[in-house]
Amino acid sequence: MLRSLDSGSYKPVVIQFDCRRWFLETGHLDRMDNPINDKIFHHLPSDCEAALEPLTAFIEPKYGEELLTSHMEDGGTLDLEIKQLIFTHHPLFSSEHVLAAQLKEYYKTYTERITLNVTKVLKDRLLVLRHAYAKLLESDPRTRGFHGSVHDEIDVTQRLDIYRKEIRSCRDEYNIEAEKDRVLLTNMLRVWKDIKNLRKKNKFSCTSLKLIIKKEEVEKEEEEEERKEELRQDTKETLTELEAEYEKNLEKYKKTLATWKAAYKKKKEAKKRQEQRKSLGAEEEAEDSTLTTAQDEVLLAVPDEEKPLPPEAVDKRQVELRILDIFSRTRKPPGEPNVHLELSLNHSITKDNHCSDGEKRRRQAVSKAKISLRILINKKLVTQTPLATFNNDFTIQVNQSYRMGLSSFPQIITLEVVEGSGLRETNIAAVSLPIPSKSSFHKEKYEDIVFAGSQQVTCNHNGTGCGLANSEYGSSFTKGSVSYHLNWYIEEEAEEIQIDTQPTQSLSVPSSAMKESNQKTTVPGYERTHIDPNHPGNCELIAHLQKAAFGLVKPSNYFEIDWCEGDFCTDVELDTSVRFRVLQLRDKEEPAFKNLRLIPPVESQILRKSLEAYEEENLTGMGQEESATESHLIGIDRRWDNVERLLASLRRHMQQRYMQANLAFKVEDLVQEERIPDIGTIGTSLLSVFKPRRPLRPERKKRDQVRGTALGDQNVNLIVHIAQAFHVPVRHESSLSPGSSSSDLLERENHVRPFIEATFQRTILRTSVAEGPNPTWNQQLSFPFKAPNDNFSPASLQTVTDNIYFHLYDEVIHDMLEDDRLRESTVYHRIEKRWLGSLRIPFSTIYANSKIEGTFSLEEPVVLLGYVRDSSTSGNPTGFIQSSEHSKTGTHLSIYLTLEPTLPPPEPFKAQFESSEPEDVLSASKDWVDTLDAKFSQRHFRTHVLDLSGKLVSMNRFIRPLKPPEELISEDISETTRRVAWYVSLIPSLADMTLFPGACDIWANSEQFLTMLTGDEEEHAVLLTNFFLHLGKTAYLLVGSGIPEGQTCYVLTIEENGDQVLWNPSTAKSYSAQDSFSPLHAVYSLVNEDNIWANTQKYDDPPRVNLDVSMSGWRSFYSRSVPDPGLP
């Protein structure tokens, strides 16, 4: 086998390397004269190789962009098909069953032997060898009296020798095999006889087995002749062999005898000398040489060797007897018919009522017994096959296949055979399946695995029981085999291109696991089931077991030096190293570690706290944490804590959901390509030369977006262009103190000197001072923008929560100079800034809209002491802003904000979302939106939005009357309305984008909104609409576009007197629909409890839109053809 090629094979080379034996005395390499052999060798595939699958396959060329396969899952999908379960012993076996099982076992080996036909092969080989030997003997030059060269002679003798040896070994082998055949045959016949006897004795039969014996008559004389000839040949061969041996032994004997004789003689002489010396006495002692004395003593000390026995002469008679004995054991006697056995299953089984009581009860027990198989992976229950009862022959047809998706590579797959169900179930046996390697492609080949139990069971009926040492039939334990098919499920595409680059960690697992499982299952089974070690099918198993016994088993399908030699540390140390953990987590972009810059190189310097906190968080569930922290936080703190936690979990959830979509890059993200001018663009650019020039009304050029990595080394600036302000309050005449009138000479004409101070990310910039209540600055401020961790990816930009603030101040200059005489040479002023109002724009709005342009109303103090709004001076420089009542209400500021270079806003998420809405409604919604979009490309229409669970939900489901808090309700309905709006506006506002980076525009329902306590305009608007509806108002959720938010939601109420009021839910401000100064500047659609209407009118700015949905300018979504499906 290939597997046996383990590390042992290269060792000897290393050991022997030291000496000079590789060289001859001449200094040349000690090698064969001519290493080139002129014989032709053909690389024959050996038996095991023929069964191997090919390593390569012809693959058609493939269109593919996504060749790089990511390995998200380590596990894969396992297909387990269980075909049948066969018991070879079970406590409910009757004695007949036991015998039948034995017979079946024998029959199986019998058929296997028949198909392999080893005996026949060996016999033929023996014949051929003998023939060749005889031929060679004939052609032997010596026998023919012809003297060839010496070389020839040597060659022939050598060859004869080899032949003799081969014949001998072949004969022995043949004898063994033939004996096996005989034994098997007699065994089968014996068992069959037993069964027949048992059936006769019992007067019933409970198995359907029937052994059909076919006899083939043979010529007795011929066989006898053959046998005689064979006998003669065998005897002759044996005799020659024995004689040769005898001669060799005789030679040896003669030699040993000679040496023995010499030794004996010497000893005798020595003895004689010693005796002489003793008789002479002590007088002459000195004279005699002490040397000989010592020698004699040594000689005498050597114990007498036994006299070698002459080898036994070859006794021809005895040899013949022995060969006869062998023949009687291995060959059938001449004249005995050839026997062919066949096992059939058509013996009729005796009906129940003809059986004895014990058998009846046994059969009842059998019919009650329920068997099922459990599949366990890594000792966890995966599934259980349905309960099944036995067939008569104790087999169970399962025929089930299971597909199991695994998250990690399985360590061990176990099948458990379970009997009974519910409380009375017993685990009979368990067996581990070898885990197939992922690269094997066995198709539809069932494998059998043997299981064995270890319980002792006695029965009070005819069942034999099991594990009973002293009973005739029940001595064996419960055992059987399962035939199954286990392989990895491979998808069709994956099969075509196998670019499988799993790291070896997982590669090493299958082999080691296989080793483990093999040992576990087979070793206990081996002892009990007595596997035939000579059976060719078992040789792999036996070899494996032998190796296992010596502890030699090694996962050998990949190269590996000694597992633990020279290791620096253990695996556990490596995996628990804090530094590596932190580095790995940073690499994985875990939120807590993502932005760590420097991780100390020494373990001890690393802050363990954050890692510990992270791990704790991973370990404990949310529920436990809440209960743990509730104890030490009270009131609002606790509430906020909960909100934080909820948000964090939502965020995590969302991130996981949208992670994959974020990974997909587009070509535009990677390649920045200049548009090649074509006829159209050249034409327009040529035409632009002839355009009328309007230097006083410059147009903004469209800029290219900078994407991806190109941003890294650029400075991103936030450009703020402050154009003008309208209706700035002016100083009250009376506030100018009469005393200082002389010193206020500078500002006599202008009642206000406003300037704007803008703040962004700790940078403060200001404009110059302009004059008058309608100042024009036309000034550009540029703020450096610092992204978090210099990371300009959309994901990180979305988390920026900075705001840009604009403050409008009035610069008042006090002249501090007391002495008028110094006025010519000295200036002594005190500059005072007086706050008149401010504006806040979140960065996320700028980022999402890429630019903001418009006129915003400023938040200002409720009372501005010393300032008045001068309506006479508010001459409108721009014609279309009429000085109506509303324009008086506040100061307005015209600004333009953008980022330079333009950062790409996050791509809208285009993936398909699941939804619980009916399919036809969704498709109708798509059609509805598409037709409207085609008509009004500027307006954005939607019918379904994402809720917090990531599902599409129809917008009108968010609207339901909701009771406002008790405290807000007062007698006066208008007061209540104001209070409710104020209440809603107090809930903090945070853009979806910031809240859930990566996923845009998620709508939370009112309950979730009140739990989270943060949300953006749509959540506020939904809540406000719900409250208004409860107050009995006609209220709609208005989806439109406003400044500064961009796309936003307002609430539209229609008062009893027919007034249409727009509410900004985040500021609690209400505007009349006719107000041209309202921040809402486009109306797209209206939503109420029952329906969604799209604005199909020509205009979409609120003053010009007819907000009555029953009129023709609105198109409803739910209609008679598409009814509202109601709640699913």
């Binding site: 190789e49 269109y63 060749l67 670019i499 590596f580």
Partner: protein
């Protein structure tokens, strides 16, 4: 507990056919190794050489590995594919490259090979595209199975790798 940094690039290849060639590489580690940071596999862009046979990828490799011992020293498994004029992809070569174990800057080349098929398969490959591929990438580096393959040499992939070792001398590894 030693660390290895592998910083470098898949510079390019030469000796392949003059279609668009790209390269997939992946890191193969022994059991005692962990990837701490960096991507352990990658795929280069498809480069069509303008002149000669040299293609340039300059695909960055930046890995931080930690290890328990020196066994199972990391290897790069390299697969080169070609993309023909129809956008179809088929195999050009397989190669295995040991990451150099001496710290410093190394310019290494990885010769590649591809399995050959029967005569008909080769003819089809030559005229219609496609070709024999390994059924599993495992066979690329498994010592046991390779002997059954019939291969022909393909082009060469050039890499530049900078190796930084840490804590190896602490455990008596000399270099």
């Amino acid at each position: 507990m030693a660390e290895v940094h592998v910083i470098g690039q898949v510079t390019g290849g030469e000796g392949f056919t003059d279609a668009s060639i790209f390269c997939k590489w992946s890191l193969q580690l022994g059991g005692g190794w962990r990837v701490v940071e960096g991507l352990s596999e990658g795929q280069t862009q498809a480069d069509k050489s303008q002149s000669g046979e040299k293609v340039t990828w300059s695909h960055p490799i930046d890995l931080h590995l930690s290890t328990r011992g020196i066994q199972g020293w990391p290897r790069l498994l390299i697969q080169v594919y070609r993309q023909d004029d129809f956008g179809r992809i088929d195999l050009c070569g397989y190669g295995v490259l040991h990451i150099p174990s001496r710290p410093g800057h190394h310019t290494v080349t990885c010769p590649t090979w591809r399995p050959t098929g029967t005569l008909t398969e080769e003819l089809r490959r030559a005229f219609l595209g496609g070709g024999p591929q390994l059924l599993s990438a495992e066979f690329m580096h498994s010592a046991l199975e390779r002997y059954r393959l019939h291969t022909v040499p393909s082009g060469v992939v050039h890499l530049e790798l900078g190796i930084l070792l840490r804590n190896f001398e602490k455990h008596g590894i000399m270099y």
